[in-house]
């Protein structure tokens, strides 16, 4: 691999490092500039716009897809909301019917109860009246009997009984 140029450089005691050999500089710089210009034009004219457009297109597609998915999701949510609403409506309806029926039954029940109460009250009053009558009757009878008896006893003992006095006495006793 030993190159004549190296041998020459080494023998001269100078630059054996090819990097420091000024003979090579102009050649390298020229071809580097050519290369860079070529790459720059290829990239800026063809490659980079193409990649940028592909990336933008993909970004657009992804954005569209995401938007579509978002829309579908929203529709699903709407459907779910509608279903929930229908369900809660039905529940409310059922509850209302239950309440109405309950209230109706309650009313009827109340009416019946009142009627029954009234009847019972009437009967009770009647019976109480009868009892009071009987009691009053009994008391009168007792009074009458007591007066008679008292008059007879007084007569039998020889005194004359003032009817008014006897009555007052009997009444006083019966109260006691």
């Amino acid at each position: 691999m030993a190159d004549p140029v190296v041998e020459h450089g080494a023998e001269a005691g100078g630059a054996a490092m090819p990097q420091l050999n000024p003979d090579y500089f102009s050649n390298q710089i020229f071809w580097l500039l050519v290369t860079l210009v070529v790459i720059y034009f290829i990239l800026s004219r063809v490659a980079l716009p193409r990649i940028a457009s592909v990336l933008a297109e993909r970004q657009g597609t992804i954005t569209n897809d995401i938007a579509a998915a978002e829309e579908l999701k929203q529709r699903a949510q709407e459907a779910e909301a509608a279903y929930e609403k229908a369900l809660s409506d039905a529940r409310a309806e059922a509850a209302k019917i239950v309440d109405d029926t309950k209230a109706e039954i309650q009313t009827q029940l109340d009416v019946e109860l009142q009627k029954a109460d009234a009847e019972i009250a009437a009967k009770t009053a009647e019976s109480e009246a009868a009892i009071a009558e009987i009691q009053a009757g009994a008391a009168d009878a007792v009074k009458t009997v007591a007066k008679e008896a008292a008059k007879e006893i007084v007569a039998a003992m020889g005194g004359t009984a003032d009817a008014r006095t006897v009555t007052a006495a009997v009444t006083a006793r019966m109260k006691g």
């Binding site: 190159d3 090819p18 090579y24 071809w31 990239l43 490659a47 980079l48």
Partner: protein
Amino acid sequence: MADEAHSGGGLEFHPLDQFEVKALFGDGPIHWYTLTNVTAWMALAVICIVLLLVVGTRKRAVVPGRTQSVAEMAYGFVYTMVEDVTGKDAVKYFPYIFTLFIFILFSNFLGLLPMSFTTTSHIAVTAVLALGVFLFITILGFVKNGPAFLKLFWVSSAPLALRPVLAIIEIVSYFVRPVSHSIRLAGNVMAGHAVLKVFAGFAQVGFLIAPFAILGVVAIYGLEVLVAFIQAYVFTILTCVYLKDALHPSH
């Protein structure tokens, strides 16, 4: 080392022969227009770039194939780098930065092929790249900002007494930029390739050493693959950092 080459026997190291510029046809002297191995490997780099970025993306598929995804990955990599480091207003210089990146990347990787010639190992090449960046950024800075670009060297956040000192340091470091920018790339690539050659040279010592030498070559080669990419990345990202200075000198 040059002396050993003459001594004949013993170890023969020629780690720098691989960097020799040779005319492709004939042995004549090398003029600026001569077709040399530099030309050949740069042309190969251009062909590879065209294959990847033009031929690979010719289908414009929305769902990319293998080559197209690599091309898009390279594009996205550099594009995000420019946008993140330099800012949105630097996107119009993206083709220039991408040119630098893709050229250095392919030169480095092609240089890793056995028997190849590495164009980026030559200081002349990287110096042109770095000087191009330097001139581009300096001119752009003055065009965009006018004399206000000089504020880059006048650190207004520092105490007033320190500012002249800092200005000198800043100016020196500004002019050292192209030097370090070019030597970093060339030095890394050249050092790696020279070390590969030295390890390969150890293989001629004997059967006992040769396996270790070959193992060493493999290990260094793996490191060099990494370095080839990282140096392209570093060159590009430093270009972005310098470009940010030109666009927004007052930080």
